[in-house]
């Protein structure tokens, strides 16, 4: 059985003129980029636009990719910047669209799925109230599950700065939930957190 080509192999092929190999990279990472964009507050109907814009940017600057870091790190960086740029340019007035059924959460019960979707919608509203430069480390740490070191690489910031922004972002989230979305607080957690 043929071995899967590595990211570096694919990039090398594209740079050598085999542009069609870029499609493999897109298919490999489109879910990661789209999910990151959604979690960064991009409305569902704009996620595809942001994702394709990210890959177009990646293609244009593929020659600048350095294989010392994982491709995903670079993609996260571009995806987060694209999501924040989109936000700045379109200025959504906290417009939260209904999450479409194509959102896959892998849960069996329809009822719990609906609850989850509603909670997600409210959570996204809450996250949107946090400024972008605080939201990014929060999303990367607690939704993408990245270690501090990698977040620092993605955001191109010193680890100390990431750490302090993360602390501040969590404090902001707690405050926003306490003031505007108390129903999102885990049972009994708000008291222990305050």
């Amino acid at each position: 059985m043929a071995e899967e080509p590595t990211d570096v192999d694919l990039i090398r092929d594209v740079l050598a003129g085999r542009v069609e190999r870029f499609e493999v990279l897109v298919r490999r990472y489109q879910r990661l980029v789209a999910t990151a964009a959604l979690r960064m507050g991009t409305p569902r109907d704009e996620v595809e636009d942001v994702t394709s814009e990210v890959f177009y940017k990646v293609y244009k600057s593929l020659g600048r990719y350095r294989p010392e870091h994982a491709l995903s790190t670079w993609l996260y960086r571009i995806a987060i910047n694209a999501a924040l740029d989109r936000k700045r340019s379109t200025r959504h007035e906290s417009r939260m669209e209904e999450l479409s059924p194509s959102l896959a959460d892998g849960r069996p019960s329809l009822e719990s799925q609906a609850t989850d979707l509603e909670r997600s919608r409210l959570l996204q509203e809450a996250l949107e109230r946090i400024p972008g430069h605080y939201r990014s480390p929060l999303v990367l740490a607690h939704l993408e599950g990245m270690p501090l070191e990698e977040i620092a690489r993605v955001l191109d910031l010193p680890e100390g700065t990431v750490k302090s922004r993360l602390f501040r972002a969590r404090a902001m989230l707690k405050d926003i939930i306490r003031r505007h979305y108390p129903m999102l607080a885990p049972p009994g957690a708000m008291e222990s957190a305050t």
Binding site: R12, V14, L15, G17, V19, E20, F22, E23, V26, R27, Q30, R31, A34, T35, A37, L38, R39, R44, V47, E48, T51, S52, F55, Y56, Y59, K60, S61, L62, G63, R64, L99, S102, L103, A104, D105, G106, R107, D116, R119, S120, L123, L127, L138, A141, H142, L143, S164, F167, R170, A171, L173, K174, D175, I177, L184, A185, P186, A189, S192, A193
Partner: protein
């Protein structure tokens, strides 16, 4: 995790964000991206060059630079050896420029020497004055240090006396 002021901690945040963490997006943007790349292929020269092409470009530009330098050197050599009129004029101009520079240099050096001749005696006088005044300065320093020590001793005495006479406060907040 150690909590900062107001930070609810990682566990709380993870618990709150869990529903959002379960959300993923299924989309297929590959055809769209590839179509856009194909449409703009002519305008978009794929990216920057590959490392091999970069090395080749670098080596060829170095070779070209060396060749250009050699051409320039040999042209100059031929012109100088052939006694070209233009070269003679340029050499003459260069020599005149050099002479002008030398004259200005001498003037600047003269000015510097005069300034030094004025300033040096003043500096010497200042140094002599410092040497004469050194014992006096040392005495003043000693006096100031003694004054400092005396001041510390006096403050200690004043605080000690104040503590002796101050009212005592018990653990319940009462004054004894």
């Amino acid at each position: 995790m150690k909590r900062a002021g107001g930070d609810p901690g990682g566990l709380w945040t993870a618990e709150v964000l869990r529903p959002l963490g379960r959300q993923t997006v299924e989309c297929d943007v590959a055809p769209r991206v590839m179509a856009r790349i194909a449409a703009e292929m002519d305008r978009l020269r794929p990216l920057t060059a590959s490392p091999r092409v970069s090395r080749l470009a670098w080596a060829s530009s170095l070779l070209l630079a060396c060749a250009a330098l050699a051409f320039l050197g040999s042209t100059l050599f031929v012109l100088v050896r052939g006694g070209d009129e233009g070269v003679r004029e340029i050499v003459g101009l260069g020599l005149s420029g050099w002479h002008v520079l030398m004259v200005f240099g001498r003037v600047a050096a003269d000015l510097g020497a005069r300034a030094l001749a004025l300033v040096l005696p003043i500096l010497r006088a200042g140094r002599a004055l410092l040497e004469v005044a050194a014992p006096l300065l040392r005495g003043a320093g000693l006096l100031a240090a003694a004054g400092g020590v005396f001041s510390i001793l006096f403050s200690t005495y004043v605080f000690a006396s104040a503590r002796k006479t101050a009212p005592r406060v018990d653990l319940q907040g009462g004054i004894r």
